[in-house]
């Protein structure tokens, strides 16, 4: 549904996009994850035909963003980081305006405005001007405006930045509904949890490049090892265990005599766990505790995007 290849875009001396490749299958969510200034917003602006790329190509819903922008615009909805609603119009008028400019017939525009106000809990507020809305309400209205024409592809640029937890959870459920209905979603975020929760695939972007791409699970396993911690009753047991467990996992067992633990970094947690239990049992070493710690996306993210740390 979205194909991007070798996309480049510079603003003066700043290379905002430095050769980006992406592919998003229909009905899935791609999370574009990266720190501020990584190029996420520029990528969305190019894909939504708001910015023209310097090089490379991008197709959205089968249309080229440079040569067929009108067709692309018929297929997309965009909700930005800054809520693009008109403060002088009511909530309903904002949706009607978006509907008419998306070239819905007037009855269809009215019906969609009513449906969306109801879905986003803005039916009563729909009669007030958007200038009187809270930040969360304005963001919901902005998202509703992006969905007016039932687009095939929805771009959400940092949709939850600055939202309270309840509004964020609400927005997440909207994204899940969209995907269940078959919509393709590209969302940018600085929040790892958000990408982990919503995205089928994540592209980590830094300094205008994709530095890692995969499912959340793949990224975690590829980039940071699972830690297997063995807690032992005595220092003798620690010594025996560290000797016996050598060779399991990716490195030398790390021994912490004070805490009486042996820590292994392993690629496949469950398999390593079985092996550890088997070897310690054979050696007659009693164990106080065993635990597996999955790496967090935070670790992944930091290891990928820390520049000259």
């Amino acid at each position: 549904m979205i194909q991007v290849s070798g996309l480049r875009k510079a603003f003066g001396a700043v290379q905002a996009l430095d050769g980006i490749d992406l592919a998003v299958a229909g009905g899935t969510v791609l999370g574009l994850l990266g720190p501020n200034g990584a190029g996420k917003t520029t990528a969305v602006r190019v894909l939504a035909t708001l910015a023209r790329p310097d090089a490379g190509s991008a197709r959205v819903a089968g249309f080229d963003v440079v040569r067929e922008p009108r067709e692309v615009r018929r297929s997309i909805g965009l909700a930005g980081q800054f809520a693009a609603v008109d403060p002088n119009l009511t909530g309903r008028e904002n949706l009607l305006l978006a509907g008419r400019l998306a070239h819905l017939r007037p009855p269809a525009a009215r019906r969609r405005a009513g449906e969306l106000l109801e879905r986003f809990g803005l039916t009563d507020a729909g009669r007030r001007t958007a200038g009187t809305y809270s930040g969360g309400m304005r963001r919901r209205l902005d998202l509703a405006a992006a969905l007016v024409a039932e687009p095939l592809v929805v771009f959400l640029d940092e949709p939850t930045t600055g939202l309270d937890p309840a509004s964020r959870a609400d927005l997440w459920s909207v994204v899940r509904e969209l995907v269940a209905a078959g919509t393709t979603v590209l969302l940018t975020t600085q929040y790892l949890e958000e990408a982990d929760q919503l995205a089928d695939r994540i592209a980590v972007i830094d300094a205008g490049r994709v530095v890692a791409e995969g499912t959340p699970a793949e990224l975690k396993s590829r980039l940071a090892a699972t830690r297997l911690v063995v807690q032992l009753p005595t220092e003798d047991a620690v010594r025996t265990a560290s000797a016996r467990l050598a060779g399991i996992g990716t490195g030398v067992p790390a021994v912490d005599p004070g805490a009486q633990t042996v820590v292994l970094e392993v690629a496949d947690g469950p398999a390593a766990l079985t092996e550890v239990v088997r070897r310690l049992d054979a050696a007659g070493v009693a164990v106080r505790g065993l635990s597996l710690t999955e790496p967090s996306l935070d670790q992944v993210f930091l290891s990928l995007t820390s520049r000259a740390a």
Partner: protein, 285 residues
């Protein structure tokens, strides 16, 4: 028709998903020739701009008070000391006030456009399949409507303080010319709004050009009373050309020379400013 433990919100899944949209079905969008959409979209945006302005009555009120104050100031405070041979000063004055009203009023376009750029409304418009031109033409058309309102108001104020146009036909022709002048300056202000980027700067930048043009003109006093260098400027600039033509129309003076000059200025400003504004709008991506 599952009634059991599924998580879908209703008995019919498609219906439950309806609110966020069903992207698989045929598009509900209407197809028309591009030119047809250019007109429809421009009118849609015009209406949006007018509604927005009507809902900020404080801005409208202040915009209206300014020319009224100028009228009163020049009619009653300075007017007694200004003598224009052959006409009542109030009749001389109103042409200047009308032009000033139209030219200053356009600043709303610069401010509105910068606000739309900053708030992301223009980005939303650009992501929609609407005619690109509608963002700017919608501004210009809204200005035409607003100018018609403010000119009508100022004609009424003028009549109240003793302004007596020579003929209704002349007055109506003058209103038409004022609206054309308004279009020319709307494009100028659109360009200012696109270039400058924030509302306060747009206001300041707009006035920077308009203020000297308006006062170093024949708006309030005949240019003959100015020192030579200033007179040379005042006699050969568009605001004076417009004022002289409007004045000729409302006072029933000969039109042969002044009206073509004014129309030429208006056409030139419109073409140049529109070309620059449209280029700027297109390039900003």
């Amino acid at each position: 028709m599952s009634t059991g433990t599924t998580t879908s919100a209703g008995p019919d899944r498609a219906d439950a998903l309806r609110p966020v949209g069903r992207p698989g079905r045929p598009p509900a969008q209407e197809y028309r020739p591009l030119l047809g959409w250019a007109v429809t979209d421009a009118l849609t945006v015009t209406r949006r701009n007018l509604v927005g302005q009507l809902r900020q009555p404080q801005i409208l009120v202040f915009a209206a008070i300014q020319p009224i104050m100028f009228t009163l100031l020049f009619r009653y405070v300075f007017g007694g000391a200004i003598t224009v041979p052959g006409v009542d000063y109030v009749d001389y004055l109103m042409a200047g006030v009308f032009v000033q009203t139209v030219v200053f009023g356009g600043i709303a376009t610069a401010v509105g456009l910068t606000e739309d750029l900053a708030s992301g409304v223009v980005d939303r418009f650009r992501s929609l399949p609407m005619a690109r031109s509608a963002v700017l033409t919608g501004r210009v058309l809204a200005d035409v409507a607003r100018n018609l309102l403010s000119i009508t108001l100022m004609v009424a104020v003028g009549l109240a303080v003793g302004f007596r146009p020579d003929s209704v036909a002349g007055l109506l022709a003058a209103v038409g010319l004022l609206l054309l002048l308004g279009v020319a300056f709307s494009w100028y202000y659109a360009l200012v709004g696109l270039v400058v980027g924030n509302a306060e700067a747009a206001q300041a930048a707009g006035f920077l050009v308009i203020f000297p043009l308006t006062f170093a003109s024949s708006a309030f006093v005949p240019t003959g009373s100015m020192p030579g260098w200033l007179r040379a400027f005042a006699d050969n600039q568009p605001i004076t050309a417009a004022i002289d033509a409007i004045r000729a129309l409302v006072l029933g003076q000969p039109l042969g020379e002044v009206v073509p000059v004014a129309l030429a200025w208006i056409a030139a400003i419109t073409v140049v400013m529109a070309a620059l504004a449209i280029t700027r709008y297109r390039r900003a991506r």
